[in-house]
């Protein structure tokens, strides 16, 4: 039997490796740091390309350009990936407002997307772009919630069989949840693909949806979770030592799977976050897995129930300790420094979760300090109350799990903060018939800014020049030019330590020294929020 379980483990290990290899095209959770041109800019000519900078490498999933007349052009093949995506635009863009819609997958498997709106010449009304199916997001939430419940009450309950033999009904409940989990793994994998591509539910069976989903890191997570549910199912069916080995393996694989993707696992430092996620999930599985069997055991008086309760009481402080420690670590990393980002949806979910957990812990403490001893001593009343309290815990933690599934849709404050730091540079494009300059004002707000100036000739090719200086003024408010000489060489110039005291429309005059005796002054405007 021992040799069987070892062989089994080897087989499962190999299967897992195979799955890992299959899912190897996994990539990173990203936030868009900046785009050029910035969304909302009005350009005089076709910018030639749109570049999107992320905080980590991304894989483009869908990129399309919607022209002012509403026609969409697929630009996925014109997009080069990495941490900075460059989307080469068609050469013959019409005047008016264009919308570049993009969707990318990040290392933690979450697809993110947004649009960059830019206008050539003037702003026009653009026909709305077809979006994804509105049902996909709620279904994905439901799928994730089902998955979490199945982990706790399926794999968790199955694992409790290592503490005490599972009573009959708990055994059936565990089996039912394991089957739910198995289907939820597949279901969420499919929805992940639909969500990533922005496709409707009717496209659920199309191969690109599945390959896309497998291409995100959630692909591995879903594979490993599916495997864990399968092992628990077989373990529960088989019973005995072989079954026990399968269940133990399953209980190790499940937290491992969650540590492979998600917001928390991909936060830096990963040496800390991945083990923290593993411990957090493992602790939760043990704790929550015990609730249903304990409640059932307490319904009947007997040696078996007492033994189970006694052993659970001995182990649970360690599990709760692990949950708390890893939870605090992860929350600290995800929330980052206190600030307005704490009030984001992520922060709200965390706050409600903590509130519910406070209730759960209060119940658990009450159980432990006031009910466990009399219950073990045979006090029927205490046993009844302990059972009711445990069932209340089950309801509360189910709520928590449903809530946590909502995190799928909320970037954590640390990512928001990262995005806010360098968000929204302002772009301006000035040109005459011979030379043009692209100005990038970072950050795009009043106060100290730096301005990057890229000089191009009339054909948009970089133009080497001898010098550049800027004069920024607000004639309407009687503000005289703020003049600054740029430093740099060839076609790339930069003005640092410039302070633009007010928002509003700034007139920017760019003087470009083309040669010893030739200079051009091109004037444009810069709209600072």
């Amino acid at each position: 039997m021992v040799s069987f379980s070892r062989r089994g483990r080897v087989a499962v290990g190999l299967a897992w490796l195979f799955l890992l290899a299959f899912c190897a095209s996994a990539w990173a959770h990203a936030q868009l740091l900046e785009s050029a041109p910035v969304s909302g800019s009005i350009l005089r000519t076709n910018p030639g390309e749109v570049s999107l900078s992320f905080n980590e490498p991304v894989t483009p999933l869908a990129v399309s350009l919607i022209a002012p007349d509403g026609t969409a052009t697929d630009l996925l093949s014109a997009t080069s990936g990495g941490q900075n995506l460059n989307v080469t635009l068609p050469r013959d863009l019409t005047q008016g407002t264009h919308l570049l819609s993009w969707r990318v997958a990040s290392i933690d498997g979450h697809p993110i997307g947004a649009s960059v709106v830019f206008s050539i010449g003037s702003v026009t009304q653009t026909q709305a772009a077809p979006g994804g199916d509105p049902l996909v997001a709620p279904l994905l939430w439901a799928g994730k919630a089902a998955l979490f419940l199945a982990l706790a009450f399926g794999i968790g309950t199955a694992a409790f069989s290592r503490v005490a033999p599972l009573p009959k009904r708990s055994q059936s409940i565990a089996q039912a949840f394991v089957i739910i989990g198995l289907s939820a793994s597949l279901f969420t994998l499919c929805l992940q693909g639909l969500d990533a591509l922005g496709r409707p539910l009717t496209a659920a069976l199309s191969p690109p949806v599945w390959t896309t989903s497998m291409g995100t890191s959630y692909g591995i997570t879903a594979c490993v979770l599916g495997l864990a549910f399968l092992l628990s199912f077989l373990g529960l069916r088989r019973g005995g030592r072989a079954g026990a080995a399968l269940i133990v393996l399953s209980a190790i694989l499940a937290p491992l799977a969650l540590a492979l993707s998600g917001h928390a696992s991909t936060a830096a430092p990963q040496v800390l976050t991945r083990p923290a996620v593993f411990l957090h999930v493992a602790g939760i599985l043990f704790w929550l897995g015990a609730l249903i069997p304990l409640a059932e055991l307490l319904a009947t008086a007997g040696e078996e129930a007492d033994g189970a309760l006694r052993r659970f009481s001995r182990i649970i402080p360690f599990a709760v300790g692990a949950i708390l420690l890893s939870g605090i670590t992860l929350a600290a990393i995800q929330l980052g420094v206190p600030g307005p980002t704490w009030l984001s949806p992520y922060g709200a979910i965390l706050a409600v979760k903590l509130l519910l957990l406070l209730l759960v812990f209060a119940l658990a403490l009450y159980n432990r300090r006031s009910l466990t001893r009399p219950a073990l001593a045979g006090d029927a009343n205490a046993r009844r109350r302990l059972r009711a309290s445990i069932l209340a815990e089950v309801v509360l933690v189910s709520l928590v799990l449903g809530l946590v599934a909502g995190w799928r849709f909320t970037p954590p404050p640390r990512a928001l903060a990262e995005a806010a730091v360098v968000a929204d540079p302002i772009f301006a494009h000035v040109m005459d018939e011979k030379v043009m300059a692209m100005l990038t004002v970072t950050p795009g707000q009043p106060g100290p800014v730096s301005i990057a100036i890229d000089v191009m000739d009339a054909d948009m090719a970089p133009r080497s020049v001898q010098g550049v200086h800027l004069a920024l003024s607000q004639p309407a408010r009687g503000i005289q030019p703020i003049v600054q000489t740029a430093t740099g060489a060839e076609s790339t110039w930069q003005v640092n330590d410039l302070t633009l005291p007010f928002g509003g429309s700034w007139t920017v005059a760019v003087t470009i020294r083309l040669g010893a005796f030739e200079q051009r002054t091109i004037t444009g405007s810069l709209d600072l929020p």
């Binding site: 010893a516 005796f517 030739e518 200079q519 002054t521």
Partner: protein
């Protein structure tokens, strides 16, 4: 009444103060010339680069001002850069297709406190358009330059190129 006079006085004083820097620009002594005529350009250099002495003066000769001859200057090395003209010009029966494109007086020393003039002559082609004609000029100092090359004609230009106005000449030359 007194208040409005006071305001007017302040306005005039301010205007005068603001227009003062114009006297410190590099300028031409003679501000007008006829198309098709010979012109003696006297370039007036009123100051150095900030406080630094001027060591070289470079003047660009734009298309349409041909048969150019600079005047040598004691204490300065005179060089010219020649090249083909875009058009061809009739110099008393001789067709000129190339000539001086740039004049450089270098290795000199004109302290900021002093004033000097640099002279060259040439002929304005009769085919030029009447209006402003610029001679972009660069003063070079030990650690920088003053580039009088702004040919936009903007009133508020910081460093306009020295210019004159071309007017219609006599019908026959």
């Amino acid at each position: 009444m007194i208040r409005s006079f006071a305001r007017a006085a302040v306005a005039v004083a301010t205007l005068a103060a603001l227009s003062l820097p114009a006297f410190a620009h590099v300028t031409l002594e003679v501000q007008e010339a006829k198309l098709g005529s010979t012109y003696k350009a006297v370039l007036r250099i009123p100051h150095g680069c900030g406080t630094e002495a001027t060591n070289a003066v470079r003047v660009q000769i734009p298309e349409g001002f041909f048969n150019v001859k600079p005047m040598p200057k004691a204490g300065w090395t005179l060089e010219t850069v020649t090249g083909p003209y875009a058009g061809s010009y009739d110099n008393h029966g001789t067709t000129m297709t190339e000539g001086v494109k740039e004049i450089v007086w270098s290795d000199g020393n004109l302290p900021n406190e002093f004033y000097d003039e640099f002279v060259f002559r040439g002929t304005f082609a009769g085919t030029l358009e009447p209006g402003k004609f610029y001679f972009p000029t660069i003063q070079t100092c030990a650690s920088g330059e003053e580039a009088w090359i702004d040919v936009t004609g903007a009133e508020a230009a910081d460093m306009p190129a020295p210019s004159l106005t071309l007017v219609e000449g006599d019908a026959h030359h």
